[in-house]
């Protein structure tokens, strides 16, 4: 007797799909709960850093915040005061006129402008990457003398300070003998002390940019005594961000 060719019946396929529909949401839910958890952790850290950054930026001199006003030397070179300036973000203005990208270059902290703009006052708008601040950690009493930082992986340590009560003492960065992911190994002589780190990490990227504004808070390309500073934070998988804006006034106001 010839066997009837058999495939899945419609009912069988429908039942399999129904079962899959029951199981798949559970898997997605698990995945999402992991994402939500790390997202929330990053968000809280970003909020803390936003407060710390604004606190720090408010106490910094007006000139050290972007946009920078510099005078190009006779050789066309001038140092921009900001550290970690994002090269592609630089826009220059001289006497309110925009300088085309071909008329300047930037490298190693120095801006170099071409002939016509040499010796002139230049307004440099740019984005500056900011480090994570105000993170205090205790060095263990016994080896290994390892401390863990929150913005991981740690990419560069800018400053380490020993904290004693309300006083801070700057330490040489060489006290950090090894850096791996979020773990910084410090010199054994610091056992039991509280250290404050300023550093760059990859989990949270903080950038600031600024523009000059006039008395009516309208953006201007000329130097004024008001700067509108915007702080941008990008965290997680480069998909979450928020920005904060505040006004910084110059000394004479």
């Amino acid at each position: 007797m010839k066997k009837a060719p058999g495939g899945f019946t419609l009912i069988e396929i429908m039942i399999s799909i129904a079962l899959l529909a029951i199981v798949l949401p559970v898997a997605f839910h698990i995945l999402n709960s992991f994402k939500w958890f790390s997202h929330e952790k990053n968000y809280r850290y970003a909020l803390f850093q936003a407060e710390a950054q604004i606190d720090s930026l408010k106490s910094q001199p007006f000139e050290s915040l972007p946009p920078f006003v510099v005078k190009a030397g006779k050789d066309g070179k001038v140092r921009l005061p900001g550290r970690h300036i994002i090269q592609d973000s630089i826009r220059l203005y001289s006497e309110g006129q925009h300088l085309p990208a071909s008329s300047f270059s930037y490298g190693n902290g120095f801006l170099s402008v071409t002939g016509a703009f040499r010796g002139k006052i230049i307004v440099a708008e740019c984005r500056v990457r900011l480090p994570s601040l105000q993170e205090a950690v205790s060095v263990p009493d016994k080896p290994p003398f390892e401390v863990h930082l929150l913005n991981r992986p740690v990419t560069e340590i800018i400053e380490v300070r020993a904290v004693k009560g309300s006083s801070f003492r700057q330490l040489n960065r060489s006290i950090c003998t090894a850096v791996k992911d979020d773990t910084v190994t410090v010199d054994g002589s610091l056992a039991g002390q509280v250290l404050d780190f300023t550093y760059y990490g990859d989990r949270l990227n903080i950038c600031m940019n600024g523009v000059f504004v006039d008395d009516d808070l309208k953006e201007t390309r000329r130097a004024s005594s008001l700067k509108l500073i915007t702080l941008e934070q990008v965290y997680g998988e480069r998909t979450n961000s928020f920005s904060l804006t505040f006004l910084k006034t110059g000394g004479e106001r």
């Binding site: 559970v26 803390f48 407060e51 606190d55 720090s56 601040l133 205090a136 863990h148 004693k164 509280v194």
Partner: protein, 149 residues
Amino acid sequence: MRMQRAFTMIELAISMALLFMVLPSIFYVAERFYRHQRYVTEISGLRQSARECAARVGRDISVNRGFSIRPDNHGLTIMSSSGSTTYSLNDNALLRKDGRGAVKLTEAMVRDIIFVQYNSRVVMTITFDFYNINTRHREACTFIETVRR
């Protein structure tokens, strides 16, 4: 006429084999889900504790006359008209001591507490000691909270 037949031995054996292959992964996923849920609940609880502690210290600072951070930064003393209130760590417990006695601020095990003043801000870094059900080890979990803005 449609033929009526039951499952053959081979069919049953194959389905059971498949079931035994799939079951462990289902149990694995379920267990991970359960463990993760417990981990999230635990961490959320610790975070809540950290915020409550920071709020308590912040409230004390704002209503009283002044405060001083201990020279080792692991404690804080708040001066009030009726005496002083001290926050310090004692045997993995974060204690608030005043004239009326000592109160544990959180039931969680506190490994370390650091108070640092940056300009006008007072920042509290609290590290809890907890059993991580995912890694099955005791681990540290650190939260940074702003006590005073």
